[in-house]
């Protein structure tokens, strides 16, 4: 499989830049698999882990908290609202965020409810991806 360049950037920093052979992400309209020579493409991303496959077969997951995906002829860019590699995730903090979001969900309504729900999903994705640290 041909490799392509993947960059993941957030407003604060560049999280990831390397050559990869396959990328699996969740867009707002469903899961997507991107390999080299994909047609130019732009979509919004959901809050979900992105799965990256390296040329040597290793797989890495990145917690992506929404944003945009752009596929161009010369590479793929993820503009994430926030993104962390497994080793960067603060599991305790994610756990606290999860508990707080769950509490808020109990009483919140409308916009507050939506916010708490998003916070909960971000926390869950981080917890999920953070688990990879142990296996790798």
């Amino acid at each position: 499989m041909d490799a392509f360049r993947l960059e993941i950037v957030t407003p604060d920093r560049k999280v990831f830049a390397d050559d990869v052979v396959f990328l699996a992400v969740r867009g707002v309209e469903g899961d997507l698999g991107i390999a080299a020579h994909h047609v130019p493409f732009v979509t919004r991303l959901d809050i979900a882990p992105a799965r990256i496959t390296f040329p040597d077969g290793r797989v890495k997951r990145v917690a992506v908290s929404g944003g945009f995906l752009e596929v161009r002829g010369d590479g793929v860019t993820i503009l994430a609202d926030a993104a962390e590699l497994p080793e960067e995730i603060d599991l305790d903090r994610a756990l606290r965020a999860k508990e707080r979001a769950e509490r808020d969900l109990e009483k919140a309504r409308d916009l507050e409810f939506k916010k708490a729900e998003l916070a909960l999903r971000r926390a869950l994705v981080r917890l999920d991806v953070g688990e990879d640290r142990r296996s790798s």
Binding site: V39, P40, F41, V42, T43, R44
Partner: protein, 296 residues
Amino acid sequence: MAKGLRELRARIRSIKNTQQITKAMELVSASKLRRAQERAESAKPYAEKMREMITNIARGTTDVQHPMLEERPIQKTGYIVITSDRGLAGGYNANLLRAFAQTVKDVPREAMTIVAIGRKGRDYLIKRGYPVQAEITGLSDFPQYTDIQAIAEQTVALFTDGVVDALVLVYNEFKSPLVQRPKIARLLPLVSDEAEGGPAGAADARRPAGSLYEYEPSPEGVLSTLLPRYAETLIYSALLEAKAGEHASRMAAMGAATDAAGEMIEQYTLELNRARQAAITQEISEIVAGANALNA
């Protein structure tokens, strides 16, 4: 004798203390400046990538319509004024606020609304009766995107909701550690021409007309989330730049203060030595005169 020895000594001691403080502040600012500059650097790729994306969308699809790209008659303008929380930074805040006051001197107060970031600017603007409608103070020296996300969203919403017809960023541009310049640039509607002085045009002609893109859900759908996001990002990068400028400016001001203190110490030490000499000379001549009087 101009001054007593005791006063001179006390004076020198106090200036030495001040000098130590200004020296320490200079060093602290220097290290903060380095970090702030790195932060501003590392935030750049995001804004740049986003601009490329918007440019590509604008170019790949004809007749994209979005309120953020549209000029409408300006009845009310929103200003985002970024200053520091703390002083002792030379002319950092004063220059910016003067430039701002100059720019808006013909704009009636009812036709403007202000979002103030930073305590110095907020205090100044409120005292002079400008309509400050939102503010953030007490930001850290190294703000995170999440720190200003809420206010950036609110500010951009002022435009999309039609409360204001233009948004203008007022901040100190970081040219180099020695040069910061007040910059007043239109943020929204996004301008297509760099020469307009916008922080970044939405459609600069760097890339050749690219291939056609596919969009999910649709070009309009992508653009309608991408554009507000882009505007928020621009506010964030302006803030990072302003912060770097603040540290640079404080470093320079404190450096100058340290030098000035050094000069004063030299000056007073000289005076002190002269005064001491004069006192000794006078004492000797008094003794001699006394002895002569006895002998005579």
